[in-house]
Symmetry: C2
Amino acid sequence: MNRAYNFAAGPSMLPLSALTAAAEEMTNFRGSGMSVMEMSHRSKIYLEIFDETVALLRELMAIPDDYEVLLLQGGATGQFAAVPLNLTVRGSADYVDSGNFAAGAAKEAAKYTNVNIVASSKADNYTYIPTIDPEKLNPQADYLYITTNNTIFGTRYTRLPEAQVPLVADMSSNILSEVYDVTKFGAIIAGAQKNIGPAGVVVVIVRKDLLGNAQKITPKIMNWQLMAEANSMVNTPSTYPIYMAGLCLKWLKEQGGVAAIEKVNIEKAKLLYDYLDESRLFHPVAQKEFRSRMNVTFNTGDPDKDAAFVKAATGAGLLNLKGHRLVGGMRASIYNAMPIEGVKALVDFMKQYEAEVAHHV
Amino acid sequence: MNRAYNFAAGPSMLPLSALTAAAEEMTNFRGSGMSVMEMSHRSKIYLEIFDETVALLRELMAIPDDYEVLLLQGGATGQFAAVPLNLTVRGSADYVDSGNFAAGAAKEAAKYTNVNIVASSKADNYTYIPTIDPEKLNPQADYLYITTNNTIFGTRYTRLPEAQVPLVADMSSNILSEVYDVTKFGAIIAGAQKNIGPAGVVVVIVRKDLLGNAQKITPKIMNWQLMAEANSMVNTPSTYPIYMAGLCLKWLKEQGGVAAIEKVNIEKAKLLYDYLDESRLFHPVAQKEFRSRMNVTFNTGDPDKDAAFVKAATGAGLLNLKGHRLVGGMRASIYNAMPIEGVKALVDFMKQYEAEVAHHV
């Protein structure tokens, strides 16, 4: 098989069982005489696939009936615009600036509403989740926006902020990796290409009572109300990526669901952070209290040594460990589909590499 | 193999060779140890796939260097908003109302510019392409918008309108099916799911000098200028559907390219229309002069008989012939990937069906 351990930040590894099933069904899905990607999105056979995908997501995340689940296009970046376009009633929103995507979401939102940055860790290159001064929160804000996991910097909310207004979360890089109580949120957005499936789908989970307020300038494909009325099919959805997401969600259910995978994710992250905490060569980047379980950032303190390590790791089949340019160093993204064996292989390789480097010095 | 002849209006049939290649490469793309859908969109290996797809499209359509080619998300419906959001300078645009999607595009555009309907065939349920009275054209319009092929009604522009302003075309349902001179257009938009590849990608071809005028309220993912600067990657693109589009374009090149497939398409359409013109049971819907080569609409004049025929055809492996609810009757979509054998099988089946019905009357 020769499958690599792929530590990319997304798109990234998918469960092998999902890929294998897709390959087997590629030219003739269950006797239909066609590929899933050849099916009309309005056909009964495709609607079953679509509805099953939504049902699995509802089941895995325990999404209550008073929430809509939409499978849209344009990624989380598209939803950076859609959030204020759909949720602006009084005309302002509070944003927490905890990373590059959080800042991008705030910048995009400023086109459509008055954005109030209530906390920021930018000055420290986003190594932690900033604490919100309650006095900065606007009780009249339409919503409070957070990014639950910061892909580039490797930080994660360990406690959700208290808010009197609907909490809106970009969960792109840690959805389905840990148990969240959906009822704590007014809306959740998540690009699929980390923990849901392949790129090309963005999930929107929104409390129904928040719908119906879209601004007149909202493009049809970003109008949550219209999409909810049309079962996400105001126009042709991203049919094949949605099918793939369904296969990945089936795999997750077989693993025991979100609570079960959360335990594995805690174990995987612990393996890596425990080693980083004792290593003399590698140093973790994010502050301990806010460490992400999905994206582990670290470096040697020397860009040349970082590059040499990434190159050596690539040669050993440990791929895409180069950190984002805003942080440098390395980043190991260990989403749900990364098996614990992959993390063990990485830690073993790092230990061996460190020993060799020490030997050569 | 048991592959069906799928006459769906889109998503629809794809070349079998593309599906087979995708299945073979699914879990390990050319020794990379990963699926294309697991690849970072920023990785060298994926960028090669992406660039090759764009290069194939440029080659097949002979797109000059002064045009950008973008592979975006959100479908043609998303571009209905993007067109006026990107091209509004003076503040109004001319639209031809030749069908449901044309009307939808005009309605969406009215959110962002002053829309002037310069011709419409709505009163005749869009059975023809309306002629534009030159006096209705606004020489100060930012663009003139047309829909080159009307999927639902089965009509097609047989001659492009003369325009003093940039011509913008929704080519979703006949792109790559016939030779177009791209230099006649200011911009072309096309959802992929008919003649390009699977759903989840929309192609934008735009003359570079028209860029740089995006309205401030343009969502980032709809900003053509930003997307052009970022090689369509302001955010993660729909990576796997783009790869599939590349495989489909390779197939098209192997068929001899657009000029060669156009000949086959003319032959396929002729087979079907010739029979419809002589049939006593089935009647073509679109006016002869404006018949689409991609979507052939017909009926018996009796909804019950139509339904009985569709059911019988389905039983014979001729799938998705039911017409759109706005037209009723039947519609055979015969895009590039529908082999001529499929059209022959349909005509043979219709002849036999007609003979049997005549016999029973």
